[in-house]
Amino acid sequence: MKKFLTLALTAVMALSLLTACGSKNDNSADTNTDGSNTETTLSGTVSTDGSTSMEKVINSLGESFMAMNKDVKFTYNPTGSGSGIQAVSEGRCDIGLSSRALKDDEKASGLVETVVALDGIAIVVNPENPVSDLDIDTIAKIYTGEITNWKDVGGNDAEIVLIGREAGSGTRDGFESITDTKDACQYRQELTSTGDVINTVSQNPDAIGYASLSAVGESVKALTVGGVEATEATVKDGSYVVQRPFVLVTKEGTKLSPAAQAFFDYALSADAASIIAAAGAVAAN
C-alpha cells in the first residue's frame, strides 16, 4: 500500500515536471522559429482517428510533424479501423486511419485509400528448431490448436508452445486478422512486449511466436512463409503474405485543410520513411 502511494506520488510529480519543462521548451522554440523561419508557417489542427495498431507509426509521424510545424496541433484518436473510416466519412476528422485495405463498398461511398506503410509480421522460432518454412494455413492451424506437435510439420516430436501478445496489442490484432484466427488462438503465453516474445522464443526450443519485422534479431529464427523470406523488400512487393497495409483514409471531393494536407504529404514523403521504420513498419514509398 505504502509502496503504491509513493509510486503514485512520484509519478504525479514526475509528470508535472515533464509538462512544465515541455511547455517551457515549446515557448522558447516558438520564438526561435518565428525569428529565423521565413517560410509561411502552418497553423491549425490535424485530427486523425482510427486504427489502434497504427498508434506507434502515426504518433511518431505526428510528433515529428509538430516539431517541424510549431503552430500545428496534431491529434490522434485511437478508436479502431472501423470507427476511423466512419469518422472520416462523416467529416468528424481530417484523416481516417485503417489497418486494413478499404472494402469495395467503402470505396464506392467516396473514400480514398492511401497506403502509408506496410506492417510485416515475422513468425519466429528457436534457432534450434529444424522447421524453417510454414505456409499461412499451417500457421493458422498451429495457432488455433489444430496442429499441436512439431513432428506434424516436419520438426521434432515435441509439443508446440504458442507465444503471443496481450489482448489489444496491434501486433496480435494484425497477426490474427491476417491468419484469420481472431479470438481462436490457444496461447500458452501472452506477453506484453515484443522483446519478451523474442526472449521467450529464444529460450524455448519448441516455441513459436510473432513479432514486428523490425524487432527480429539474431537470437531467433524468422520462418519463411510459403517459401518467402520476411524482409523489407518482400513485404514491399507483397510476396511475403503476413503483412497488412496501414492506410490513410480521405474523402473524395473534400479538400483537406492546409495543415492536414501538409501532414498527409509529409507522411508519404521520403523523410517520413525512417520514422515509420523506427516505429516498426515498412514505409510504402
Binding site: M1, V161, G168, R188, E190
Partner: protein, 285 residues
C-alpha cells in the same frame, strides 16, 4: 504561535497521505463500478472466461481471482516455513557474525526491484522448470509461486525476528532453569509468546504476494486460463490489469478498473487482518 504553526504544518503533511488514500479509494470506486454494473456483479466475479477484445467480449475474472489466491497460498506454504525458521535461527541461535551477514543479505533481498526478480525468473527459473519437469513450457503458476515465495521472505523474516526479540528474557531463562533444552525453549516458550507478531508477518507476506505484478507477469505466462495444474500458464489479478491497460479502450478499460477495485478490496481485507493481529499483539504484552 510558533508551536501552532509547526503543528499546522505537520497536520498538513499528515493529511497529504490521508488525502492520497482517499483520492485513490474514491477514484477506484468511481471508475470500477460502471463496468460491474454493465457486466453484472455475478457474471463478473464468477465468469470463467476472459476475452476482452473478441467480437463478443467476455469479462469473467474468476480465473484471475483463483490464480491470485492459489499463487499467494503457494508462496505462503513455501515461504513461511523458510522465513519463520530463519527468524528463529537469527534471533535465538545464530552467532553474532553469522547474524550480521544473514541480516545484510535479507535486507538486500528486500531491496531488489521486482522487475529484477522477474527477469531472473524469466531467464533462469522458467527454462529450469521446463527442463526439470519435462514440460513444453516453464512459464506457469509454479514459477510464479517460487518467485513470490522468495519475494516475501524478507518481510516475514524481519517482522518475525522483531517479534521473537520482544519476548522477555525471563520467560526463556525460566524455561531453561526448569530443565527444558534450548530447542524446547524456543519452540514451546519463545514462539508461542511471539505468535501474534509472527501472524502479522505472515499477513504482511500475503499482502506483498497478492499485490505483486511485475515479477509474476514475467514468469506466469499470462494466459487467462482457469488455474488447473500448477504447471499451467495463468494470469493474476494484478497482471490482468497491467498487461492490458496500455491499449485498452471502452468497456475493456472500465473492466480493468473493476479488477483493480476487486484487488483493492482484497488488500483492504489483508490490512484489516494485519491491524487485528498487531492490536492483539499490543494488548497481549
Amino acid at each position: 504561535m510558533f508551536e501552532a504553526v509547526v503543528h499546522g504544518i505537520f497536520l498538513l503533511l499528515g493529511l497529504i497521505t490521508v488525502g492520497c488514500v482517499l483520492l485513490i479509494t474514491v477514484y477506484l470506486i468511481i471508475s470500477g463500478i460502471p463496468a460491474i454494473q454493465k457486466i453484472g456483479l455475478v457474471p463478473f466475479l464468477t465468469g470463467k472466461v476472459w476475452s476482452s477484445t473478441s467480437a463478443e467480449p467476455k469479462y469473467g475474472i474468476l480465473p484471475f481471482i483463483l490464480t491470485s489466491v492459489y499463487g499467494t497460498a503457494g508462496a505462503i506454504v513455501l515461504g513461511v516455513p523458510i522465513g519463520f525458521l530463519t527468524a528463529v535461527y537469527l534471533s535465538k541461535v545464530a552467532p553474532k557474525k553469522v547474524r550480521t551477514v544473514l541480516e545484510a543479505a535479507v535486507s538486500l533481498l528486500a531491496g531488489i526491484p521486482s522487475v529484477v526478480y522477474g527477469l531472473v525468473g524469466m531467464l533462469v527459473l522458467v527454462p529450469a522448470i521446463r527442463k526439470t519437469f519435462h514440460l513444453p513450457d516453464g512459464a506457469s503458476l509454479f514459477a510464479a509461486i517460487i518467485v513470490l515465495a522468495v519475494m516475501i521472505l524478507p518481510s516475514i523474516i524481519k517482522v518475525s525476528v522483531t517479534a521473537l526479540e520482544a519476548v522477555p528474557h525471563e520467560y526463556e531463562d525460566a524455561s531453561l532453569a526448569l530443565g527444558a533444552t534450548e530447542v524446547e525453549t524456543y519452540f514451546r516458550v519463545s514462539v508461542p509468546a511471539a505468535k501474534s507478531g509472527i501472524a502479522a508477518a505472515v499477513v504482511l507476506g500475503v499482502g506483498r504476494a497478492i499485490g505483486e505484478a511485475m515479477a509474476v507477469m514475467m514468469v506466469s505466462g499470462n494466459a487467462p486460463n482457469m488455474p488447473g495444474s500448477i504447471f499451467e500458464s495463468v494470469r493474476f489479478l494484478t497482471t490482468a490489469v497491467a498487461s492490458e491497460m496500455s491499449y485498452s479502450s471502452g468497456l475493456q478499460r472500465q473492466a480493468l478498473f473493476s479488477i483493480a477495485l476487486v484487488l483493492y478490496l482484497f488488500i483492504l481485507l489483508i490490512n484489516a487482518a494485519l491491524n487485528f493481529f498487531l492490536k492483539r499483539d499490543k494488548e497481549g504484552n
